[in-house]
């Protein structure tokens, strides 16, 4: 008879443990959420070479500000919204350095030869379409379509209503359909 698997500690328990000084709890939270966060960042246009740094920065900000997390949404959803802010700041800095403006090379999978080689044509078109959306529409679309979150959860994380989140999602879908078909 197989041994029952130990039930993993919920995020809230790990957060409390981290706040009490348990570094292992922080490492565990990174292990749980780093990949979904990396997908979100890549989908939102982060260059692959910078995804690791952006993931680290997002976790650092989250752990530093964890006292502001009130459990109004899941820890992962909260983390993804922080990731959106980190990516925005990254784009701003990149824009100032005039190395890679966020809305050109950073967000365009077709501008990155490595990504281009791996992404399917349709994915590349979708990435190119996403870069043209307003930030809120892009994030709501990714939270819903990529991360599979409910509107209520998205609304709680973005401090809006579920109705507004639904509207943003539908605008995003409509515009993405148009853009992808135009290509």
């Amino acid at each position: 008879m197989a041994q029952p698997q130990p039930v993993p500690a919920p995020d809230s328990a790990l957060i409390a443990a981290w706040q009490a000084g348990d570094e292992q709890a922080a490492a565990e939270l990174v292990g749980r959420h780093a990949r979904p966060l990396a997908r979100f960042l890549a989908g939102a246009g982060a260059p692959e070479a910078d995804v690791d740094d952006l993931v680290q920065e997002t976790f650092i900000r989250a752990f530093r500000g964890v006292h502001r997390f009130r459990g109004h949404c899941q820890f992962r959803t909260w983390l993804l919204t922080i990731g959106g802010n980190v990516l925005k700041d990254f784009g701003r800095r990149a824009g100032r350095r005039k190395v890679m403006p966020l809305d050109e090379g950073v967000r365009d999978g077709r501008g990155d030869p490595h990504a281009h080689a791996e992404a399917s044509e349709a994915e590349a078109l979708l990435l190119a379409g996403l870069k043209q959306l307003p930030r809120l529409q892009r994030e709501v679309f990714l939270l819903r379509a990529q991360q599979g979150l409910e509107y209520e959860e998205i609304a709680a994380a973005l401090a809006t209503t579920s109705g507004a989140a639904r509207v943003h999602y539908h605008h995003a879908v409509r515009r993405l359909k148009e853009m992808v078909q135009d290509e």
């Binding site: 490492a27 879908v173 992808v180």
Partner: protein
Amino acid sequence: MNEDRLNELARRLGADTAERLDVDATARKVVQRLREQPARRAIWIQQAWLRIAATVVILVGGAVALRQVRIGRDSAEHIPHFVADDLSDLSADELREVLTSFDEIVAGDSVVVPESGTDLNELDTQQLRALLRSPEG
């Protein structure tokens, strides 16, 4: 392209990037940075407190110094000063001159009218001194 296809594509976005992420290494780096940051934060807090303390010291010190200067000035202004102290060395002509200008200042409405009809030129030095001292009580 329909919505289902869009969603399917969206679910795949970034999947390869996420797979390539070395999660253990990322966790180690995050923990390492978190270890370093409280120290930096403590230093920052220390510096901030030092700045606040220095500002308070400067403000309080400045206020005290200003108060002392004011008190000094006020007390200097309030030391009684009798005109009579300066009169001893004056000649009769100088005393007359002082008295004339004094009369002009007070416009003759509150003070020092000697004997009616008395001309200052007729007074001698002692009388002039006495006249000048009289408003001081």
